[in-house]
Amino acid sequence: MAKRIDVSDLNIYYGDFLAVEGVNVSIEPRSITALIGPSGCGKSTFLRSINRMHEVVPGGRVEGKIVMDGQDLYGPDVDPVDVRRQIGMVFQRPNPFPTMSIYENVAAGIRLNSKKMKKSDLDDLVERSLRGANLWNEVKDRLARPGAGLSGGQQQRLCIARAIAVEPDVLLMDEPASALDPISTLAIEDLMADLKERFTIVIVTHNMQQAARVSEQTGFFNLNGVGQPGRLIEFNPTEKIFSNPDQKATEDYISGRFG
């Protein structure tokens, strides 16, 4: 079920390098939270710290707290593998497993979580997930074909189906439409509007119109210069960010004066 996320005093490091500094934010359940900002400002790093994917890079670590419905994600006895099973992720470039069929791609997460599942139950779940990702009608006749044979937009929706198949609490999306054409982008955005009924969604995007279209809350990240840590400059309802932001830097960025 959708859960809320509270981040307090979060610093993210790669080795000795402080990449993101002092993030405090609360992310509401059943809503879409957009993160915007110029390249290198740490918004993707912050996103990846929510499901501890930044630790995949050697030296990646955090100070501070991320709490999901009372559960400290960085508690001493918390396994990052368990965190990632609760918090799904969709990447910038569609990455279905090339060696798996469409069906196997969707079922991949289930096979990890619970090894035993009746074939008919698995069939149902794959269909439900593909319907949930608005992909069922396009692929139902070729479930055994490779996932890499689909178009870019279809592949990205396949990745979303794979992520929601395991019923995560939160769905993280790292520029999910930046590699897609406008029609596919629209399909993904429509899908997100459906998915927020069931999931907490956090999306990183370079496309400010997209943030304005889909999100309820928007966070603006910025950094003072190269080598400086990124900071969360402003976090407000999307409407306010795009009409009357509190910070001058936010307004400059939104209005295209820099970035």
């Binding site: 995949v56 992720m89 497993f97 090339p98 798996m100 991949a108 990890l112 074909r145 990745c159 395991v166």
Partner: protein
Amino acid sequence: MSSTRTTPPSPPGTGRSVRRPGDRVFAGTAKGAGILILVILAGVAAFLVVEAVPALTAPAEDIPGDRGLAGYVAPLVFGTLLAAVIALLVATPLAVAIALFIGYYAPRRLAQGLGYLVDLLAAIPSIVYGFWGIFWLAPKLVPFYEWLEDDLGFIPLFAGPASTTGRTMLTAGLVLAVMILPIVSAISREVFLQVPSLHREAALALGATRWEMIRMAVLPYGRSGVIGGSMLGLGRALGETMAVAIVLSVSGGITLNLISSGNPSTIAANIALEFPESSGIDINTLIASGLALFVITFVVNMVARAIVNRRADFSGAN
């Protein structure tokens, strides 16, 4: 020059494109290199066939052993395949494990050193492997063979009687396994490192542990590369001469008994041992057995390619 100038510009793909000298030189070189391989192959094949013809047409009693050419070559083919299959069965899992350890488990500094050491195995001359096999490995394996005979003797492979020198088909296979280990593991390591981080992260983001990530993303992606590496290793095992000639105690014909001292020889080792004392039709017979090895290698490679292509759609190459 003037002719290309006067040609009216045509839309791409419809007319003849402009041929630049650089393109022409490169295309010619590449084509020449490709043709050269075919010419060499054809030359070898032609030589083998021509030289083998006298043996192919000779009456059975002229062939050494008096059992005809098929009777002479069959045990050799069997021995060659058996030794190579043992080597492959032992070396491939080990090589994949080494490659995974180097690529995904070992600390970076250890990984580099280890990779270098494994590669170094490839630089050891095969005759050294032969001496290592006969003087060190074979005696060490004798107690093991006795145990196999006593406790697993009901399996035909280990029926015995166990060799007292250890110079058995299994020893030869193990020596070959060590010899092909570096090439299989080096190629496996390279393909495992080429798995895009995108796919590895996809598995990790689903909540895969490191081993699950390897099973989900790394091994399937590297599958065709591992098969290719194994085939290169198999090629070396099939054709290996000196190590087998030294290690293997040869007497008798086709047997699946891996731990006795009566073993069929392999084609390459047999040629090396017999050639110096052969003349006339005997040489033609040896060359005919070489032709058989040539054909085996060809068939093995074609089968491997068929295996790789069977799931080409899922290879990740697209």
